[in-house]
Structures are given as structure tokens and as C-alpha cells.
Symmetry: C2
Subunit: 180 residues, 2 copies
């Protein structure tokens, strides 16, 4: 379903599936990696309403795994380039790989992909320094979510003439949603 | 043999083979492309002593194809990321796709890969603004070529005691090659 490519190295197309919805690629010699490309192979799409959050995982000085959210892949944005050089100084972020206890080797990092609801992805903020072309993707992705919400919400829109009398029901003017 | 990935889009793994040693990927809607990844699929390596030069081709205002050298892929560096946004202002460079007459469509650009001798690749200079992670690759690649040449040349090195008398034969001190 997924491929992973370290710039300058051979492509990987066989991640380790560590849970039904979680996939992991090993990145040997990760301190010499600048950019990583994560992409869908195009064989199997995400189930409708789902997408993938992409994490970088590296061992800290004590050998503990530190996870950082790089960004997302979805059926509409099936690939992204991330810059991982320089991420080691950052803090770890919340992540869904907690119970996995992936074995950590000093020179080997991981790319983890977690399949989740698009609504959940939209609430997560990737580390800013990882963005290469994913900045645009993320902005567009968020815009798309808002558009979808507006389309969803406005499908319920009524004019005052169509309202059935019910003084306790609240209405939000459609242009409030648009402005937001 | 090759794959091509526009950041944000699905991967392409079936280039058009326009000659025995030339491969072309179409890039629709190329004005909205920032980064392109070119990589070997890992199935078939280059023949020994060969590598690939990677070109970006776009139509100029008159519809003529302009080719720019982005960089290289080799068995030792089987992938590279190139930044193609901003290349349109540049001039075209020499290229080996001259006689192909690829049909040009206003919104469609191409990635062309030409399989050539490594020695030839080392004499070509990619457009500087295309380099993402390929800067390092190119520098390393050139360094490797120089190393190879030094190893090759120094395998013929002799000391004066080993020289057979022949006043007309010229010798280059090994440290001259090293300094170069």
C-alpha cells in the first residue's frame, strides 16, 4: 500500500505491518538522511474518510523512541516529501504507536504510518521544520476539510420561510460559517 | 526500470521508452509542481559504467521544447529529488533528446532520462536551482569519479627506481593528481 524513499537510496515498498492500521519502514544510517518521500503505491486506496498520518521515529540518547508527526498522505494527496535532517533537536509529539515497543537501534530510525479518520488528521499539527512540499498539501488539506464542512453544513440550510416554528432551535447564518 | 513521483501526486512507474536508452514521463499541469522525485525501481540496475542523466522539458511560449539538466541517478545514487518550480525562467541546456520531437502540450512538461556513460555524466553541469538533496549527491558523485581516477592512475604509479630508462616518456607526480 505504501512506499518510502530516502533521497539518494533505493525505494522501499514493503513496510513492516505492526498493527492492522500501522506500517513501519526502517531508515538505516538515518543521521545521513536529509529528505524522505512517503507515497501510496496506487494499488490500494485508503478506505473512504480515512488517511494516513506519517511519523518519524528516532532513538534518543537513552535509546527511547521519540516520535514526531511529519504530515499526512491521503487519497487526494497520495505522496509527500519531508525534511528530517534537523529534527533530532525537537521534542516528541503525541503518537499512536505507543504500545508497539519497536526495538531501537542507535543508527536506525523509522517512518511510521497510521491509518486514521480524516477528521482526526485535521486536528494534528506536524512539526513545521519537516515541511517541504507538504506545507501546501497541509494548507490545501485543511482548506478542503473546511470546504467539505461548509458543503455539509449548507446542505441543511433553510430560509426563514422554510422554517417550521420551533423557538428553541438555534440557527447559524451560513455566512458565519463561510467567514470562519 | 525508473519511477517518477510529483510531490502530492500518485507515483508513475511506466515511462514511455522513446529510444533504446531514453525514457520519458509526462508531467501534466506542471506549473503547479514544486518537487519531482526520480528513482530506479530496483528491478534492473544500470549496465556497469552507465548512469542516467535526468532532464526537465517544458514548452516555451512558442510551443518549442526547452530541456534543462536536473541531475543524475546511478546505481550508487538510485534516487534524487529535484525542485522544478522556478526553472521556467532559465535557458535550455544541451541535451540528447534532440531528434525526438516529443509532441508539446501547453500544460504538460516531461521528465526525460538518458542512459549514458558515467564519464559523460561527470562532464555535465545540472541547473543549480534544481538541486534539493541532489547537491550532496552531485558533489559526492564527482568526488567518487575523482577518487576512481586517482585509484586508477595510481595503480600505474612507479618509483624512479622502478622506471625503465626512456627519456621521452612523461610522468606526473601522484600528488599533483591528488591535489587536483
Amino acid at each position: 500500500m505504501f512506499g518510502c524513499l530516502v533521497a539518494g537510496r533505493l525505494v522501499q515498498a514493503a513496510p513492516q505491518q505492526v498493527a492492522e492500521d500501522k506500517f513501519v519502514f526502517d531508515l538505516p544510517d538515518y543521521e545521513n538522511i536529509n529528505h524522505v518521500v512517503v507515497f501510496m503505491l496506487g494499488t490500494i486506496p485508503f478506505p473512504e474518510g480515512m488517511g494516513g498520518s506519517v511519523y518519524f521515529c528516532y532513538p534518543d540518547q537513552t535509546g527511547m523512541a521519540v516520535w514526531q508527526l511529519l504530515g499526512f498522505v491521503t487519497n487526494e494527496k497520495p505522496s509527500a516529501i519531508f525534511k528530517i535532517s534537523g529534527l533530532k533537536s525537537g521534542k516528541g509529539s503525541q503518537h499512536p504507536f505507543g504500545a508497539m515497543n519497536l526495538p531501537q537501534t542507535p543508527t536506525v530510525a523509522q517512518i511510521g504510518i497510521s491509518v486514521e479518520l480524516l477528521e482526526n488528521l485535521a486536528q494534528q499539527t506536524p512539526v513545521a521544520s519537516a515541511a517541504v512540499s507538504s506545507v501546501d498539501s497541509f494548507t490545501e488539506f485543511t482548506q478542503k476539510m473546511l470546504d467539505n464542512f461548509y458543503n455539509f453544513a449548507s446542505s441543511f440550510a433553510v430560509t426563514q420561510a422554510q422554517m417550521t416554528p420551533n423557538p428553541s432551535e438555534a440557527f447559524i447564518p451560513a455566512n458565519v460559517v463561510l467567514k470562519w
